[in-house]
Symmetry: C2
Subunit: 418 residues, 2 copies
């Protein structure tokens, strides 16, 4: 890397981090979640407006992927598997309905507008996967991640991700030749679930060994860096095993939650998250090309029409899915709205549609519009439905402060008095 | 970045971080500083042995530079400017002698072996600049950064860096045509010192504003990220102003030390440092090509002879400089040894020598040998001269635990009891 390049990326990091912080603080000030500000700043910095952040840049991509890996790792660290299994039936019902409804509606709308079968399948598929990152971040900002609704959404979004990987493999198969294969579908699903299961089983036996090892090493920062090594390593392994990076990162979080050092790890990882995660959200925003939505441009109108219809069915489909588990006694509106954002997952589908030649550029933009609106609409709606829990947020605490135990609270109090 | 590339870099980060941790822990176990293990692991992973880490890779370079920026920022955060100015005369004497002696000796030896004037000037110049990173890390690991000797070394190394920049500009000028220019030399020096002075003056007025702003924003992690933004921004600005990245990062640390939130910032930045700084040391090690030092290869023997002589004069030159401030009553052996490591700065000189066509590949390797040996010899020697101060190192604390105040110590005690 020559010196000029290096300076470019340093200034890019400064702009992305500063933009994310300013956007987040401004949106928070007008009562909206910070993540919405980070996404909007991404749109402004992105290719279609200022052009400072190229979403397909090598280094932006690497930082973005490190961001989503650390985010899912943090979510894993915060996820109480027992609680998640308690809401397992509800989550599964929400996830399955939340895949079926939007797929059927998206396929129908696209077909009705005269598009081909394969285009309609890709569009339907792009409507299926919930972006766990956005909702989890909003719930976390509101202090609601541990509520039953939060756990249902988290569980459903994770099941969704797995189903999303299966659908992606299936439609890629349809588009690239061999056609639909129930075997491939079953295999992809099996790998994702199998990876989580094997990781947790092997981990139950490995974690005590890691804890012993950690107790012997006195180098500062060792627990945090060991945790990051395991998160990156499992993300890599999950991908190599035929699943997704985020599945591995999430599994690493679930696993390391069992370590006696997990509070130290949460604090250290939170600092890394404060650096990498906003870069992820800015990069997601930067991928959106707003020029495809100019209503004054006649060429943009079919895109706007299809995009508008996709937005409507995307919201209705996921919202309705929230009401499918009729036996769940929590707030079904929160669950329905929490499932709405598509984020990066929808964009990955749209990108694959382009890669396989199924999508034209306007089709891509229509899906991007759906992704953007569903992503942008969910945080303020969630915020309306849920008041933040009254708690004092300290500047040094990240989302980890949702899981502090009574001992730690006592020590924090002692610190305050000292 | 395609998916294959992404997976490659994820696995590379895992290998570098895990290697650094394993190397650090092993060397610490046999009573050596951890940083030596990180460097050795870098040599093993580097181009000349395993070939896994390419020191000139775009992304490795960016992470490495982020590592050295965060390292110098942390050192700035820990540097008490008042203390540094108290030892200023001693530091300046050590720095000036530590530039003059090695330059004269290196020039003489190279000339005596029949090399040209310009080659000898570059070689002499490569012997001048102390690598503050290695020594500061060792002193910090030993809990001795706040000792008078530690402050003298730190101050001298910083003055050294500034003088190094001037010499680099001057020899580059000699090599590229216009020849030696006292004006250019004065200008380069003026910019580096001027940058530090202006930053501190403007900062004294800006820091209270930043503190007020921070008090208003309740987003978690804001102080740490704002600090990182300022560190990266000042590094960029220093470079654009004609000085060096590390000068800007160090200035940012000096500045933000004045913030009331500086303890939170130190903790957050330490976590980022645990991630980025070992990557820097592994990458420094990876740049060394050990094949040029094979004594069985006749072609390597002149390189070994010159390299060996350079090692001797590099050590004698800096060691002698430690005794120049005769009025200093601290341990002059510690100061002399602390100035010995050249690290990345020497390699930058060697790289520039190659760039300007003054150096052949064997010349480069001879300078690399000097850099490697001086870097590797200083930590164990320092460790012999200084026993570590008795203190309990907690895993979550980084080098920031050298500056904890009595209030924080009380709260740590309270935490232990809770």
């Amino acid at each position: 890397m020559d010196h000029h390049h290096l300076l470019h990326y340093l200034s890019l990091l400064v702009v992305m981090l500063a933009g994310a912080k300013i956007g987040g603080a401004l949106l928070q000030r007008i009562g909206q979640p910070a993540v919405l500000g980070e996404l909007l700043v991404g749109v402004i910095l992105g290719a279609s407006l200022l052009g400072w952040v190229q979403a397909d840049d090598e280094i932006v991509t690497l930082f973005k992927e490190l961001g989503v890996i650390i985010l899912l790792f943090e979510i894993g660290l915060e996820t109480d598997l027992k609680k998640l299994l308690q809401v397992g039936g509800v989550s599964t019902a929400v996830a399955l309905a939340g895949v079926a409804f939007p797929f059927a509606l998206g396929y129908g709308v696209t077909r009705a507008l005269g598009h081909s079968d394969i285009v309609s399948i890709f569009t339907g598929a792009a409507l299926t996967a919930t972006s766990v990152g956005i909702t989890a971040r909003v719930l976390s900002d509101l202090g609601r991640l541990q509520d039953p609704e939060g756990q249902v959404i988290l569980g459903a979004a994770i099941i969704d991700d797995v189903i999303g990987l299966v659908i992606l493999a299936v439609v890629s198969g349809v588009a690239s030749g061999p056609g639909f294969s129930p075997l491939l579908a079953a295999k992809t699903a099996g790998i994702a679930f199998g990876f989580l299961a094997v990781t947790l089983l092997v981990g139950r036996w490995l974690v005590p060994l890691v804890a012993k090892l950690l107790a012997k090493v006195t180098l500062p920062g060792t627990p945090t860096i060991l945790a990051i090594i395991i998160a990156l390593g499992l993300a890599w392994l999950a991908d190599r095993a035929g699943s997704a990076l985020i599945i591995g990162a999430f599994a690493a979080g679930l696993l390391l939650r069992e370590l006696p050092q997990h509070e130290q790890i949460e604090k250290g990882v939170a600092s890394l998250g404060h650096f990498f995660v906003p870069i992820f959200f800015v990069a997601v925003g930067a991928a959106v090309d707003v020029r495809a939505f100019n209503p004054l441009d006649p060429a943009a109108r079919p895109t706007l029409l299809l995009g508008g219809l996709l937005v409507v069915v995307a919201i209705i489909g996921k919202f309705a899915a929230g009401f499918v588990p009729f036996w769940f006694r929590g707030n079904k509106y929160v669950v329905g709205v929490g499932m709405v954002p598509r984020g990066e997952v929808g964009l990955i589908f749209a990108q694959k549609g382009l890669d396989f030649g199924a999508f034209t550029a306007p089709m891509f933009s229509a899906v991007a519009l759906m992704v953007m609106v569903t992503t942008f609409i969910a945080p303020p709606l969630l915020k309306l439905l849920l008041r933040p829990l009254p708690k004092q947020k300290s500047d040094t605490q990240g989302i980890e402060d949702l899981v502090v135990g009574p001992e730690q609270k006592a020590s924090t109090a002692a610190k305050g008095e000292a």
